[in-house]
Amino acid sequence: MRALATHDLTKDYAVGFWRARQFRALDGLSLDVEAGEIFGFLGPNGAGKTTTMKLLMQLVFPSSGGAEILGRPLGDVSVKRRIGYLPENPYFYDYLTAEELLTYFAELLGIRSADRRARASRLLDEVGIGAERRMQLRKFSKGMLQRVGIAQALLNEPDLVIFDEPMSGLDPLGRRDVRSLILRLRDRGCTVFFSSHVLSDAEALCSRVAILVKGRLRAAGRLTDLVPFRASGWELVVAGVSDAAIAALGSGLHTVRIGEGRYTLELPLDPPPERLVAELTDGGANLVSLNPIRQTLEDFFVEQVSS
């Protein structure tokens, strides 16, 4: 079952005051997001990711094409009861406390008054906002606002969350918390559709990704289909080895000297590296690491964006 589907979704903006011309921010996007999956929406700045999300949340209107969210067409306000949305760099009413903001939004979501405070409190706990919840939001840091933004998106226990750059403004600890939160949401059966610049997060979390470049869909699919995860070689790091021993390996290997007696060697997939490792360690070298070389999502992303 699909949680989200766009059909030839296009958005043109008028640019300029006198003699306005059209700027195409999104060009015929057709995309399916399956229910229960974590879908990464990737692309460089100005690719059209935020425009897509705003179209889905009916903050802007499509120039042509359409979309279905949880089986309902664009424009159906009632479906928002089942969606959670985190805008990019969110801003909230800074005269409210975090607790008041969530209680206010809970009221707009039609949550019973008896449950509002308890749910707000539970979510603020979940995103790591402690005693600060009783402070006005004008005193919050960017990272704390981001956490509040995530909490408000989860108030209605949504079936689909749309997160625009959820890792933005977060420190490494915050990013780790949000990553595990996204995984917990998936485990609860919630579909997660998020945009990110942080490709390692997308790589760690997503079952499928789409890459958008200049408003056009460049690639979409399962990570395993898009990125050849099979190894293309080995990366060996050794220490305590002499320059002569490395020179004796021949000129066919790509070697990088990274310090006194410390080298990185790129080995082909075949023959297996065990014999060479044994030779080096027998000669007194210490094995630091041996890892397979695979193309990463980042390599694939850079390839797609620059092609």
């Binding site: 949340m57 005269y95 707009l108 039609g110």
Partner: protein
Amino acid sequence: MRAIAAIAVNTFRESVRDKVLYNLVLFAVLLMGASYLIGQLTAGQDVKIIKDLGLSATAFFGLFIAVFIGIGLVSKEVERRSVYSLLSKPIHRHQLVLGKYCGLVLTLAVNVTVMAAALYLVLAYMEHVASPDAMRAWDAPALDSALLKAVALIFVELTLVTAIAVFFSTFSTPILSAALTFGLYVVGHFSSDLRNLQDVVDSPAAARLARGLYWVLPNLAQFDVKADVVHGRVVPLGYLAMTTGYAALYISMLLVVSVFVFSRRDFR
């Protein structure tokens, strides 16, 4: 209705937290200071002057709140991007506009009510200390209930000015909205002159244009019954009802157009 009420209450809370109601303190100081000074300087006219001053100050302070908060009601939401998270909730755009409008009307209602109460308190004090001779010179009693009619019409006028400010703020910048709202307020108080322009201009086209503008622009002068009330002239309840009905019709039209414009906007 629930969403409109929730947004209205939050808008009212914003006014309170942004210390908008502090103007009440200024009003109270102005009124008490004026009553003391006028009591020293005039005989017999003091109550009339205080009534006039109190009602004018109520209208003046209210006008500033209606315009300067009204112009930011919708545009601030868009400018600061708080509209993104708000509209991601299951609410319609018209509910946002109406909720914001009702919230400011609630702020104005509290403001006008407290000011009217303060005015009555000062007048009660003046009546208490006035000599029987001075009281005989008054056109109307100090605690005249007719004052409430003037206060009610000031409030109705402010709700109309708020609707004008909201209307402009749905499509223009705050500075332009403020200028246009103030402009319309001033023109609205002189709109009866437009009706009579045919008596002083020769051009039939100009007269027709002025007459057209008279029908389109709000006639705000009719909400001003301060002089009547202060001088003890009767303001019929029927007049109050007619004027309120006119305001309701005008406000409805402005809000319908505001909603129409706001519902079609892209929030880029």
